[in-house]
């Protein structure tokens, strides 16, 4: 049986060329050289555990954290959420002409991680579910004369709901949506329904456990974007905006169970998306044909195969991390395994961010041109509206050359690698009193980081034909 696998992204009219072998070799060599410098030129006392928090001027906090700005941002968030659902349900079924697909999976899903690193947790004020939840909570308190009672959130659950939710979002995008049997991605109608369903689920959970509690642990987007905001230097503390040492906030991020799962899910889902029509393609094809031969329908076989590979990728990434942790635990003076497992989770956030940039940078740059031209003026894709006079606009694919994309991809991975090593070394100096044992423990994390970075380079270098 010779079945042709359908393609994943109909949203995307252009795919990146694989990075050439010479650049792969250079990238990998730089990674190794940098890593060995890291081993020799290391500091002996932790530098990033203390945030060195400096509040910004009180005026900034009064304006940006004030009620009017919160109301406006919340209203914008709720409007965009509602509009995405409306466009998805009522607009054209062509994913590339419908506002919903690009807005949900490119503008928000890829834009917020980027802006969170630069400006801090910008999703929080715009979070539409938080805004609805707070208004509802306030209304309840005003009518009932008391605050709504909530269930105690089970501590052991931690960020697991968010980590599983992250896998579900990516599954919807690249497995369910990528398997339509023909070269269409997730249909806008399905996106509209999914967003609607997620909204109901989120509001229900907020009602059960409280708005802020759920945003910190269970709400996929808050936890995911918030994770990246911990890399940057802007934050809010005690009701004031402030600056801190870059990266320092991340050292306190993974203190809730499931945090490691969250960052591993991020790396795994980006890897799977990059590998499914590249590195994993022939294996996927084999399993798919085997399943299809057993009589399962073509679409179900493909979704099943992709699901298996996505879970395998998650298991693989987790395994590499856990081997590194086991290895560190064997070094004299090591803290308990559980503490190590949580204590080094944040060192993978830069890797996760580097993977995002490497895989989606060009998609973001190209697709945002669509977002702000024809998708803005003709959001339903009906070709009858031209709200801002940009409906006839298009994407200039010559904006980025293949070379520019390759350099950004390799640079992102190398920088992510260096930052990850830096955080891991810093944490080791905090956990091991003896500097030499700390350095020894870091051979293990070095191996983990080299594995992830070279795997990332490898994924980019595999031709997708």
């Amino acid at each position: 049986m010779n079945l042709v696998l359908p393609l994943a992204h109909a949203l995307v009219a252009r795919k990146d060329l694989p990075i050439p072998a010479w650049l792969f070799a250079w990238g990998a060599s730089i990674v190794l050289i940098v890593s060995f410098f890291a081993l020799s030129a290391a500091w002996r006392k932790p530098r990033f555990e203390d945030e060195r928090w400096r509040p910004l001027g009180a005026g900034f906090s009064r304006v940006l954290l004030g009620v009017p700005v919160q109301v406006i941002c919340g209203a914008v968030g709720v409007f965009l959420l509602g509009f995405a659902i409306y466009a998805g349900l009522r607009g054209t079924e062509a994913p590339d002409r419908n506002f919903a697909a690009t807005f949900v999976f490119v503008t928000a899903w890829l834009g917020f991680p980027l802006f969170s690193v630069i400006f801090g947790d910008v999703f929080r004020p715009f979070n539409p579910w938080r805004a609805i939840g707070r208004v509802t909570g306030g209304a309840f308190a005003a009518i009932a004369g008391q605050r709504a009672a909530h269930l105690a959130y089970p501590k052991a659950l931690g960020r697991w709901p968010a980590a599983i939710g992250l896998l579900a979002v990516v599954w919807l995008e690249v497995v369910y949506g990528g398997s339509g049997g023909v070269a269409v991605g997730l249909s806008p109608h399905a996106i509209g329904l999914a967003v609607l369903f997620y909204s109901l689920y989120t509001l229900a959970m907020m009602g059960l456990f409280g708005v802020e509690e759920w945003c910190q642990r269970g709400e996929v987007f808050s936890v995911y974007f918030g994770m990246f905001s911990h890399l940057g230097s802007f934050g809010v503390k005690d009701g004031r905006l402030g600056r801190r040492l870059p990266l320092s906030a991340s050292t306190h991020w993974a203190t809730i169970p499931g945090s490691a799962a969250m960052v591993i899910a991020s790396i795994a889902s980006t890897s799977f998306d990059g590998a499914q029509d590249g590195a994993f393609q022939s294996s996927i094809q084999q399993v798919f044909e085997w399943l299809a031969d057993t009589g399962i329908t073509k679409i179900t076989s493909l979704r099943l195969t992709d699901t298996i590979f996505m879970l395998l990728t998650f298991a693989g990434v987790a395994l590499v991390y856990l081997i590194g942790i086991r290895g560190m635990a064997s070094v004299r003076g090591a803290p308990p395994l559980k503490k190590l497992r949580m204590g080094f989770a944040h060192t993978l956030i830069p890797i996760a961010f580097a993977y995002l940039v490497a895989h989606y940078f060009s998609l973001f740059v190209f697709q945002e041109q669509a977002q702000f031209t024809y998708l803005l003026s003709d959001p339903l894709g009906t070709a009858t509206t031209d709200l801002f006079g940009t409906a006839s606009g298009g994407i200039d694919f010559q904006l980025l050359s293949a070379n520019a994309i390759w350099y950004v991809q390799v640079a992102a991975l190398v920088i992510g690698h260096v930052v990850g090593l830096t955080l891991a070394h810093d944490r080791a100096t905090a956990y091991w009193g003896d500097y030499r044992q700390a350095a020894r423990s870091q051979y293990w994390m070095l191996a983990v980081m080299v594995a992830f970075t070279c795997f990332g380079l490898y994924l980019l270098s595999v031709s997708n034909t």
Partner: protein, 126 residues
């Protein structure tokens, strides 16, 4: 410290060897950078029952070259070259010729728009 150092050096050598192997093995099966259509013959994609005969055709060009191919189809549809956004109609039993400069780098699909059936994977190297 010295035994640690030796261990690190050994580790480095193992990794370097692995990477060199990978690069060498990779360069065997890929011949990127050369145009696959240098022979001068115009590639023809035959569509039967709405599907490309012999599977999706790979066409590779370098930037600046002229992209030139013909599609023979037994179904009536519109052929859409994505990215370049070139669309041409083809009638059942007819053929249509495409001829345009390779100005955008990347990997693009050409498909039978109505059937959403990909027929060509077009690669333009820098």
């Amino acid at each position: 410290m010295s035994s640690n150092f030796t261990r690190a050096v050994v580790g480095a050598i193992v990794v370097v060897v692995a990477i060199v192997l990978l690069v060498v093995l990779k360069s065997d099966d890929s011949s990127t950078g050369t145009s696959s259509n240098a022979s001068g013959k115009v590639p023809t994609i035959v569509v039967k029952n709405g599907e490309p005969v012999g599977g999706i055709r790979d066409l590779t060009y370098n930037k600046g070259e002229q992209i030139h191919f013909v599609v023979d189809s037994d179904v009536s549809d519109e052929i859409h070259v994505h990215g370049y956004d070139i669309m041409k109609d083809v009638k059942a039993g007819g053929s249509v010729s495409f001829d345009f400069p390779a100005s955008i780098e990347g990997v693009f699909e050409a498909e039978l728009e109505g059937r959403k059936e990909q027929i060509i994977e077009l690669t333009v190297n820098p």
